[in-house]
């Protein structure tokens, strides 16, 4: 059992949970994730470890409530228990020890890119962060990223920071030169767009993929993604891959596998009075 210590709303449907998980807090590395299950009958949901406090024995999860299971998770209040947390899963981010890296975060992906930026900064890499949201209220983790290096905020509607997409800002930063690597986490179309911006420049680009997962240990193959024409299991071979090798079409397509069921789950929850 894992106790929820805090629940903070960061953006209209993005919530930060701090939860006890001493072993994971102690050993997790940037880029790794956990799988949580809120109770009997619940789904197993993969979530990036956005932050951790080894001394306090806690990890931070930043959750975008997109469907029934994530809605249930963000409804958990301090003092309540999360039944199952397994991890840390996945490979850790391969961190260079010098140079200049740009971290691009879109929406809840900003929370996922944060531990990577943290790891890079700790390793001695110069970090520039470019983060974006639909409008001002959707921008998250700005403070945390500013503490690690230059941070450019973009909003789609211009209500805060720079008007436009993160890719526009990325083009400018790349044009100035001296960028060794780009880390991008966000919605599939955003990661694809980033990869297309960096591809002609030959800048090494790492993306963190979010296919549907079950076990997270390589036993089901449900999380398979095509990387350079080869099938990989994102939970054990990733979740980070070379953005220039990823088949984003296939990833987006496979993420839609259960669309009709997702609606049914929400309707069911409404009927049961939990929706």
């Amino acid at each position: 059992m894992h106790t929820i210590l805090s629940n903070t709303q960061l953006a209209p449907n993005v919530t930060r949970l701090t939860v006890t998980a001493p072993r994971i807090a102690q050993i997790r590395q940037a880029g790794q994730f956990v799988i949580v299950r809120s109770g009997p009958g619940a789904e197993r949901i993969p979530l990036t470890i956005a932050d951790a406090d080894a001394a306090a024995g806690t990890i931070t999860l930043v959750i975008q409530a997109v469907g029934q299971s994530t809605k249930e998770l963000v409804a958990l209040q301090p003092g309540e228990e999360l039944r199952d947390i397994v991890g840390p899963l996945g490979r850790a981010t391969e961190l260079p020890e010098h140079g200049h890296a740009v971290c691009v975060g879109g929406g809840v992906g900003t929370a996922v890119v944060h531990p990577i930026a943290q790891g890079l900064a700790r390793a001695g890499v110069q970090v520039t962060s470019i983060i974006g949201g639909r409008s001002r209220e959707w921008v998250i983790f700005e403070e945390e990223l500013r503490a690690l290096g230059t941070t450019i905020v973009c909003t789609d509607d211009g209500s805060y920071g720079r008007h436009g997409f993160v890719t526009d800002a990325l083009r400018d930063v790349l044009a100035a030169g001296g960028v060794d690597a780009v880390y991008a986490v966000g919605p599939v179309p955003m990661m694809r767009a980033v990869a297309e911006v960096t591809r002609p420049l030959g800048v090494h680009t790492i993306v963190s993929l979010n296919p549907i997962m079950i076990d997270g240990t390589g036993m089901c193959g449900g999380c398979r993604v095509s990387i350079g024409g080869e099938t990989k299991f994102a939970c054990v071979d990733g979740p980070e891959f070379d953005g220039h090798q990823v088949d984003f079409d296939e990833l987006r397509d496979r993420l839609g596998t259960y669309r009709q069921y997702e609606q049914a789950a929400q309707d069911h929850a409404c009927k049961m009075g939990q929706g």
Partner: protein
Amino acid sequence: MPVNEQISAKERMAIARVKMPEQDPQVRNRTFTEVNLGLPEQLALLEAKRCLQCKVAKCIAGCPVLVDIPRFLGFIVDGDLEAAARSLLGDNALPAVTGRVCPQETQCEEVCIRGLKGAPVAIGYLERFVADWARDHLTGAFMTPAPASGKKVAVVGSGPAGLTAAGELIKLGHAVTIYEAFHTPGGVLVYGIPEFRLPKEIVRAEVARLEAQGVKIECNTVVGKTYTLAELRAEHDAVFVAVGAGLPVFMNVAGENLKGVYSANEYLTRVNLMAAYDFPNNATPVLKGKRVAVVGGGNVAMDAVRTAKRLGADEAMIVYRRGKTELPARAEEVHHAEEEGIRFDFQVAPLEVLGNDQGWVTGLRCIRMELGEPDDSGRRRPVPVPGSEFIFPCDIVIVAIGTRANPLLTSTSPDLRLNRWGNIEAGEDGATSLPGVFAGGDIVRGAATVILAMGDGKRAAKAIDAYLQNL
């Protein structure tokens, strides 16, 4: 004088093999409740009388854990079910499981003398009968606590190998903790083998019995991630690794990442462990196909295809490379599948999964095979028949062509010696290349059987005990 000696051999020979009462095929192929209903006491008694109580009982040698079959059958005939249960449970820790899932026809029953002329004694059915009786009547009676040895053993994996080893080790007074990756213990018994063949309640009861005896179980612990093997070894006096062979093998044909293609592991895990058949009461979904093709011919393939039928498929079909006689699945499962309306297409190899522009599976392109020249193993290899290609239209394809060793644990333990398939190298007693680390079950043998995994667990427990005595 025990009753059983008063029956003449002739009388015994005159009794016909019992038929297992089962749900009607057309009813059961829509539900997940158990197919076999179990023998009523009277039928069990009659069947037990068919045993000739051979002085040299060949059946015992046919059983990988050497269950003393005539002994427990004799007690049934005597009407002393408690003695039967104690005898059986002394030889086999999970008889309610093995009685249901052992491939008896190639083990104990294959060599039963009564099989020479007619049908062998239904050892599996009787094993199940006694085990089920014990579950209802003997609760708690088996806990003879041994004095604590002060030694700690870690068991990695809670499948049949791990559960058996834990049971043996706790009886010997060692402190045992099982580390399990999933949120529920049981291994393949809970995530692979479906409810209609092995009710999960049985596994839960076994696990509860171990816990009552003092075995600790830490779920949600992936060894190789949460802890390394070396860390566990440092914290315990010995480790038994029984992580199974959980890595799915795909066909490597075009279209395999289309929506609607599953590994059997994923499909069965969704339906069994996550109870997707009861969606949305359980939150995990599974695709329900109208026409489902399952590639493979083992127990896993049979479980997947019968599950697909139960989830509402109009047509569920097995696509197998070889012929019917070569199906590796238990005979009873093949028979049950046929009764339930499963179609079989033999000597067929898939070439490609076909899909539409929305990325959904629409069919399986296949080619017919014929038997060619014998290969090194003496088996005649199937070879494609030119021009025999055809398309099986379907919306789900389930790949059940085998599993391999998952490298998650072994890759983080470089000193642990593996064979060329990635399985852990272990001796007869489970000893590995690392002192104090033992291994057994599918991670050593490759995908095998429940009873072989249990046998490994039992032998390794003995070896671990000896190792601990010498520390």
